[in-house]
Symmetry: C2
Subunit: 223 residues, 2 copies
DNA sequence: CGGCATCCGGGAAGATACTG
DNA sequence: CAGTATCTTCCCGGATGCCG
C-alpha cells in the first residue's frame, strides 16, 4: 500500500469530469461492476476480470478505497478471508453501469459472444428487461454458474436479480455465463446448447423459454 | 489520419465493458460532452477542454469518428469551416453523461469552483433540476457566455436548455460559466458577483433569483 | 490561423516472476 | 491466496513544425 502520486485530474468543475477523475482509469468501473452483487475476494475479482493484472487490480482497489467507493472487510471466522465490497456510495454507481451497458448494446461493434462474467450476466437482466414483456409474470428463476448461485425474482412487472440459493426456483439454469447469454441474447435454442453440454435447464421449461424472451436487444445504431 | 493499431479492448461481452472500449479513453467522453449542445470546431473544442493537447484531441476525434459517434461536416459557405458533431447515436450518450454527473456531485472531493465550460453548465441544468421546485414555473432564461448564447426554457415542469438567442428572455445572465455556477450552485449572492464585475443580470431579478434555487446539490456521500 | 503530423519524456498499463 | 517486484510496452501530454 503506497501513497498515491499526483493523480492526473481533469481539474474541471463539471460533475461528469469529476466522475472520470474517480472511476475513469482503466478497469476501475469494471472492478466496481464485479462488486455490484456483493463482496468478493481478490482472486475472484482477478478471475472475473480476464486480462487485468494483479498489480493493476491492486492499484485500482487501493484507489477506490482511498476515494471511498470500496471498503475492505475481514469476514468473521471461520474462513476469515479478506473481501472487498462497495460502500453505499459505490453501489449508487449502478445507474452509470446500466446507462453505459444499455447504450453500448446499440454499437455495431458489440460482440455478445465474447467472454462474460456471471455478475455481468445478472446485471444485464436488470438493465435489458422489457417491462411490457415482464408484465404479469411471477416466478423465481435460479442460476447455477460454476460455484456461484443467483436468483432472478420476477414480480410486480420487474425482474430483480441477486445472489441467492436457487433451490425451490421454478426453473434453474446451469452453465457458463456465455451459454446462458447465447440462449437469452443470441437466440440459440436450449437444445443446441444442451447437446453441447453447455447448458442444463431444470424445472419448468416453458417458463425458461419465456424468460429468454424478456430481454430484447435494441436496434444497432446506423450512422 | 492513420490506421488504428490494435486498440486495447477489454474483450468482454458485457455492454458496460464495450462502452468503455468505445469511450473509455482519456478525454473521449468529455469531447462528446462538449458536442452535446451542437457542432463545434476543433479550436473551440480545444479551448473548452483545458488541458487537452491538440494531438490527443485529434486522436479522439478520429477514434470517435471511426466508431460512428462523431461526424465531421463542412458548413456551407460563407464561413465554410469544418465542424465536428455527434451522430444520433452519439447524442444518445447523454444519459451516461447525466448519470456520471449526478453521481459525482455526491463525491466529497468534488470542487464546484474549478473551471467550467459553458456546455457543462447548461448540461448541469438538465441534470440537476428538481421537478418539485420547477413545477408551475413558465419562463425563458437567457445566457450570454462570452460569444455563446443559450436559452433555458422552463415549461411543463421541466427545464430545457439549448443554444439559442436570448433576446426576449424574461431574464438574462451575462458572465463566465464559473460565475453563474457560483450563483446557482455556490449560493453566492448576485450582488457579490456583480460587484466583482463577474456577473450581470438583466430583466426580472426575482425570476433570476428563483432560477438559482432550482438545482439543489445532493448530500455528500459519507463513507 | 485552423487542423493536423512528428518527435520526445514521463508515467500508467500489461506480462511475468516471485514472496509471505 | 493475496498480493509485490521488475521489466517492457504503449498511451498521454507538451512542443514544434508543416500546410492549406
Amino acid at each position: 500500500m503506497k501513497l498515491e502520486k499526483g493523480t492526473r485530474s481533469y481539474r474541471d468543475a463539471c460533475g461528469t469530469a469529476h466522475a472520470l477523475d474517480l472511476i475513469g482509469e482503466r478497469w476501475a468501473l469494471l472492478v466496481m461492476r464485479e462488486l455490484m452483487l456483493g463482496p468478493k475476494r481478490f482472486s475472484d475479482l482477478k478471475a472475473d476480470l480476464p486480462g487485468i493484472s494483479a498489480n493493476v487490480l491492486t492499484q485500482r482497489l487501493d484507489g477506490l478505497e482511498a476515494t471511498g467507493l470500496v471498503r475492505r472487510r475481514k469476514l468473521p471466522p471461520p474462513g476469515a478471508v479478506q473481501v472487498y465490497e462497495l460502500t453505499d456510495w459505490g453501489y449508487e454507481a449502478e445507474p452509470i453501469v446500466q446507462a453505459l451497458g444499455r447504450w453500448a448494446t446499440r454499437s455495431p461493434g458489440h460482440d455478445p459472444s465474447l467472454p462474460l462474467s456471471a455478475t455481468s450476466l445478472m446485471l444485464s437482466f436488470r438493465t435489458m428487461q422489457d417491462p411490457e414483456r415482464v408484465r404479469g409474470l411471477e416466478s423465481r428463476i435460479g442460476f447455477q454458474i460454476g460455484a456461484e448461485t443467483f436468483v432472478a425474482a420476477i414480480a410486480g412487472g420487474r425482474v430483480r436479480t441477486e445472489r441467492g440459493d436457487p433451490t425451490g426456483a421454478d426453473t434453474i439454469f446451469t452453465g457458463a455465463p456465455e451459454a446462458i447469454a447465447a440462449a437469452v441474447y443470441g437466440g440459440v435454442p436450449f437444445e443446441t446448447l444442451a447437446a453441447q453440454g453447455a447448458l442444463m435447464v431444470e424445472g419448468d421449461h416453458a417458463l425458461a423459454r419465456r424468460f429468454a424472451t424478456l430481454f430484447p436487444l435494441p436496434d444497432k445504431a446506423g450512422t
